[in-house]
């Protein structure tokens, strides 16, 4: 899940209007950009959609890291298509955020100067080709857990963006699984890479859902507004339950000695990730935070002349047209 620990904003508005608004949400009527909405709803959504969009954009980097080294033409093409999709997801989401009154440039600046976050998962490195498979299998897999329910979210443009995105994400997950399966069934070295990728990505994937939010007031508000559809723990459990049999099928071992099926609960019991590590990554101390943000800043700064040039040309053309009329 790409939006972690999004704090919902308090709202102080006319109780009658708030009541009407909540009634619409309870009746599953979508909120559209021109409709009245509480300030807190707007601000929380901007933060959540923005964080999701930034995750798609920064998320290109760990996978793009392997495009030039992909081991076959077919795998190269699949990876290129995936990274292209992720950029497209970023674009839909920035467009959804724009309908709430924040421009793409503004929200981009907030990513670049650190005011806004992206998912902690993209601060981990991709070290072998198996990592590309693991990212599709686990990271896209975890993202889907959150995004499928968000297709029913209350904000119309966000919901519609999610519907488009989810189709592609499940495709990414299958392709990632296929890539790591090929390695799990391959040579001893390939199996070693596959197991190593699972060892490194397992707990960071569990962290993607964020810490337990059972008692969080913020989550309760977001859930009432239907911009958060499930608790973090529900989604994490669902992810573990889905992923364990997939790992077993591959003959790979999930790096958790406590992991076992609990007959009474009908779920797997599993170990919590190291939340101290999670908060370190969130604070900027993950293995790749500095490099990821530097790469995005460099792309943005190096591209300034291009954006300026294209804008200047578009203005000249418009002026030319007006003059000709």
């Amino acid at each position: 899940m790409y939006a972690q620990m999004v704090q919902s904003e308090a709202t102080e508005e006319d109780p009658a209007k708030l009541g009407e608004f909540q009634a619409k949400i309870d009746a599953d009527i979508k909120i559209e950009p021109k409709d009245w909405m509480p300030q807190g709803y707007r601000k929380t959504l901007i933060r959540q959609i923005g964080q999701h969009a930034h995750s798609e954009i920064v998320g290109q980097l760990p996978e793009a890291n392997w495009i030039t080294r992909a081991p076959t033409l077919e795998r190269k093409a699949i990876l290129l298509a995936k990274v292209q999709d992720e950029a497209g997801h970023g674009l839909y989401l920035y467009c959804a955020a724009e309908t709430l009154g924040v421009s793409r440039d503004e929200i981009t600046e907030m990513l670049l100067d650190g005011r806004m976050k992206y998912s902690s998962i993209f601060n981990y490195p991709t070290l072998t080709w198996a990592d590309v498979g693991a990212v599709g299998w686990l990271v896209d897999g975890a993202a889907i857990m959150n995004q499928v329910p968000l297709q029913r979210t209350s904000y119309g443009p966000y919901s519609r963006a999610m519907i488009r995105i989810c189709k592609e994400e499940s495709f990414h997950q299958r392709q990632g699984y296929d890539a790591i399966r090929k390695m799990a069934e391959g040579t001893a070295e390939q199996r070693r890479m596959a197991q190593d990728a699972l060892n490194r990505f397992w707990y960071p994937s569990l962290m993607m859902f964020g810490p337990s939010d059972k008692d969080s007031v913020h989550s309760a508000q977001s859930m009432a507004w239907k911009i958060k559809m499930n608790t973090n723990d529900e989604l994490r459990q669902k992810f573990v339950d889905q992923t364990v049999p997939q790992a077993e099928y591959l003959g790979l071992t999930i790096p958790d000695p406590q992991l076992k099926w609990n007959e009474d609960r009908g779920h797997y019991d599993f170990s919590e990730p190291d939340w101290a590590e999670f908060f370190d990554v969130i604070k900027g101390n993950g293995p790749c935070n500095v490099d990821r943000l530097a790469a995005r800043n460099k792309a943005w700064d190096d591209g300034q002349w291009v954006r300026d040039g294209l804008l200047a040309h578009a203005k000249k053309k418009r002026a030319g047209k007006v003059a000709a009329e």
Binding site: R69, P71, T187, A299, R307, D308, G309, L310
Partner: protein, 252 residues
């Protein structure tokens, strides 16, 4: 040279151009100046890699049952047959997009002729690729015009890119024994015959872009016959081929 050998050389020239350019373009993934360019560059690279799969599969077939991957991943630099233009490093975005335009213009004209090839397999690949390349050309032309006729800085950068790349254009129109055989068999045109159409097309776009074509027809050569590639190709291959070389025989 047997006709099979000449045919193979021709197919390698086509497939290596798209492979090496696709690799270069893919280096931009995640680092482009604006999100729309990230998407467009990835899409261009993806098309080029798809075309590579078709050209090299056919080359491998002619070459006694090699796969496209064998050819892409297990040849050394001297066996590559791409023009030097596509292997030069990306430089800034201006150089990348100018290189794309100079190549797209040649590529679209070439594929237009290959659609009428006497070899059905060549014609079929060209028919599929030419639709994609028409779009590449439209996009790179628009961007070259936008940046050439943009700000002073963008104009200066685009002119510098054109000055740097122009000496690499001529090789696309060179003609040797391979080309003579292909032309005689009506499989492919004599590249030299494409030059007038190319000059007209490129001249029109560059004029609109307010850019000046260098007054110099000197052409670096050595890529399409493998006689002398640039120093850059070897580095590109060390990256591209690394996994296949480090773990021989593994399947991915």
């Amino acid at each position: 040279m047997t006709s099979d050998e000449a045919f193979k050389q021709f197919l390698l020239r086509m497939g290596d151009n798209t492979l090496i350019l696709g690799h270069r373009v893919s280096e931009w993934c995640g680092h482009a100046p604006v999100l729309e360019e990230d998407i467009a560059l990835a899409n261009t690279a993806l098309d080029l890699i798809g075309q590579t799969q078709m050209w090299l599969a056919l080359a491998g077939e002619v070459d006694g049952g090699k796969s496209a991957d064998d050819l892409a991943y297990l040849r050394d630099a001297w066996d590559f047959r791409n023009v030097l233009l596509v292997e030069v490093p990306n430089g800034d975005f201006g150089r990348t997009i100018m290189r794309q335009f100079l190549f797209d213009a040649w590529h679209s004209i070439m594929l237009g002729r290959l659609i009428k090839s006497s070899d059905d397999r060549v014609a079929a690949i060209a028919a599929k690729a030419s639709k994609e390349v028409a779009y590449h050309l439209e996009r790179s032309s628009d961007t070259v015009v936008g940046l050439g006729d943009g700000t002073d800085e963008s104009h200066a950068r685009m002119q510098a890119a054109l000055d740097y790349l122009w000496p690499y254009v001529g090789e696309m129109f060179a003609c040797d024994a391979v080309d003579e055989q292909m032309a005689a068999a009506a499989i492919a045109p004599d590249p030299a015959d494409l030059r007038d159409e190319y000059d007209a097309l490129v001249g029109k776009v560059l004029t609109e872009a307010t850019l000046t074509i260098p007054d110099n027809r000197f052409a670096h050569k050595g890529g399409r016959d493998g006689r002398m590639h640039t120093e850059h190709l070897g580095h590109l291959l060390t990256q591209m081929q690394w996994l296949q070389r480090a773990y021989p025989g593994a399947s991915w």
